[in-house]
């Protein structure tokens, strides 16, 4: 049978972000997939090098709206790694609370969208309705619904008021029964079982080979979680479980995310109940020359930041690696041999976040580097300038 190529995108109703896939199909079966990215590239690493250490926090927050905690968290940890310094326990607790709140809202968002892709809009509406409640908690705690702006190198920017804690705890408690209902509705649904089990399977070995991260790898039995493997924040202070399953299909990825929400709520509640007293800001004055790395477990996997300082008030190099960067190539393993109608949910199952991922170097087929970051930036600048001239200035 002849092969057909189906282009998807870049602007398509499936996912909110622009990206371009080409599916090669034989009849109904997908035999290969190719991706083209770059529709979201905004030059964040370079922008961050133009800002001071403190201001860069706001730039990295805008890498991705869903991970608006993960990136600043990893970035601040990278800056704090450059020189020996202690972050106060209180700010660690506050950071943990915000990070776990983000995990709940991100997983609910995914669950809703996954339901939407399956044509199961009830789940979509339920999950997003529930998500509003957790956004309310975040608004109470941080003042913002989505971009929390809570982080700064050396601590947090805003304290949590004592009078906000009981209301937040009550709200978290009030969503747990609904979450439980949602869990049962999704996990016991025979239709979803039929639709998701055995679809888009990634084996243990493939997860290792592709270096998959986060829920994508944990669904295949790879017990990897930065929060356990190299603890940071307040994660050592309480008991919580890492959720690992072993089937590696889309259903297991959903199970992991659903169960993780309960763990996240547990961690949040513990932190709110046991918030220690103390300063929230270590008041960093100067950053000495050196390099630092910071990595944290974002909802989608490990987010990694590298910062190099030369003793001035700006980073000279800032490198970001988002989890989707590692998870995207797993499509090559999961989508082959599946039908086109399953392709949408398999593409969605890693919870892709293209905004996070879009940073590049150009290599030829043999792996030689054709352009590195600096060349690309130079080329890019001149091309941007051309477009700008043509469109009549900035």
């Amino acid at each position: 049978m002849g092969k057909t190529i189906i282009p998807i995108g870049p602007y398509h109703p499936l996912q909110e972000e622009p990206e371009f896939f080409t599916l090669t199909v034989e009849g109904e079966t997908v035999v290969d997939i190719d991706m083209r990215m770059g529709y979201n590239h905004r030059g964040i690493e370079k922008l961050s090098e133009m800002k001071t250490f403190e201001n860069s926090t706001f730039v990295v927050e805008r890498i991705c709206g869903i991970c608006s905690t993960s990136h600043p968290y990893a970035y601040t940890r990278a800056v704090e790694d450059i020189f020996p310094m202690e972050v106060s326990m209180r700010s660690k607790y506050i950071r943990t609370i915000i990070a776990e709140g983000e995990r709940i809202h991100s997983h609910l968002l995914w669950l809703g969208l996954a339901g939407h892709f399956l044509g199961y809009n009830t789940v979509y509406m339920w999950a997003w309705k529930l998500r509003e409640e957790i956004l309310d908690v975040m608004e109470i705690l941080s003042g913002n619904r989505n971009a929390y702006a809570m982080f700064k190198p050396g601590g947090v920017r805003r304290d949590i008021n004592a009078e906000d804690i009981p209301i937040s705890l009550k709200k978290i408690d009030s969503i747990l029964p609904t979450l439980d209902m949602l869990k049962k509705a999704v996990l016991d649904d025979p239709v979803l079982h039929a639709r998701l089990k055995g679809v888009g399977v990634m084996s243990y070995q493939e997860a290792i080979d592709f270096s998959a991260l986060g829920p994508t790898s944990r669904a295949s039995g790879v017990a990897r979680d930065v929060r356990k493997d190299s603890p940071y924040g307040a994660y050592q202070e309480m008991e919580w479980d890492m959720i690992v399953t072993k089937n590696g299909d889309v259903f297991d990825k959903a199970v992991i995310r659903i169960l993780e929400m309960f763990e996240a709520a547990k961690i949040m509640k513990y932190c709110l109940n046991n918030l220690p007293d103390g300063e929230i800001d270590a008041k960093i004055k100067d950053v000495p020359p050196g390099e630092g790395i910071g990595h944290i477990e974002a909802p989608r996997g490990e987010t990694f930041h590298y910062v190099k300082s030369d003793g001035t008030n700006r980073p000279v190099r800032h490198k970001v690696r988002a989890p989707t960067f590692m998870n995207l190539p797993t499509y090559k393993a999961t989508i082959k041999g599946q039908t086109i109608s399953d392709a949408t949910i398999i593409l969605a199952a890693i919870d892709p976040c293209y905004c996070c991922t879009e940073r590049i170097a150009v290599k030829d087929g043999k792996g030689r580097m054709l352009y590195n970051g600096q060349d690309l930036i130079r080329l890019s600048r001149s091309k941007t300038e051309k477009i700008r001239q043509r469109m009549g200035g900035r």
Partner: protein, 141 residues
């Protein structure tokens, strides 16, 4: 007011276009459709094809890849069509103004009717913005 425009204002169908955004604005747009805000009550519907759209909701800072595509897409929309720039990015590029990959603001590429500032604007702000748009267009003439 032309009959077409009048009909459009009754139930504006929106198409959402991300031109290199951080996702936050896009999610807040979807939020408007879900139970708490539920703008479908007012006849607004998120459509999957640009050929069905009356209103374009544009988010993001218009990076180089999207400049050309935006123009093409704008040509494809049935006219009259209204354009709403959502978020600081689409309004003025905000924090990305100095980026090497974001050449011009949105309003240099296609005409914009309403700007909704905020990073991201709350769903309430978006709804208020669309209401203002309807008032502006419906009120003139």
């Amino acid at each position: 007011m032309s009959l077409k425009l009048k009909a459009l204002l009754k139930s504006p169908w929106v198409f959402h276009l991300s031109t290199g955004s951080c996702n936050n604005c896009d999610i807040e747009i979807l939020d408007c459709l879900t139970p708490r805000f539920d703008i479908e009550r007012f006849g607004m519907l998120l459509v999957g094809s640009i050929k069905h759209a009356d209103v374009l909701l544009v988010t993001g800072s218009c990076n180089r890849m999207s400049v050309e595509r935006l123009k093409v897409l704008y040509e494809q929309v049935p006219k009259p069509c209204l354009v709403v720039a959502i978020g600081t990015c689409a309004g003025s590029r905000g924090i990305f103004k100095d980026s090497y990959n974001c050449p011009v603001p949105l309003d240099k590429i296609i005409p914009v009717d309403v700007y909704i500032p905020g990073c991201p604007p709350k769903p309430e702000a978006m709804i208020a913005g669309v209401v203002k748009l309807i008032e502006k267009v419906g009120g003139s003439k």
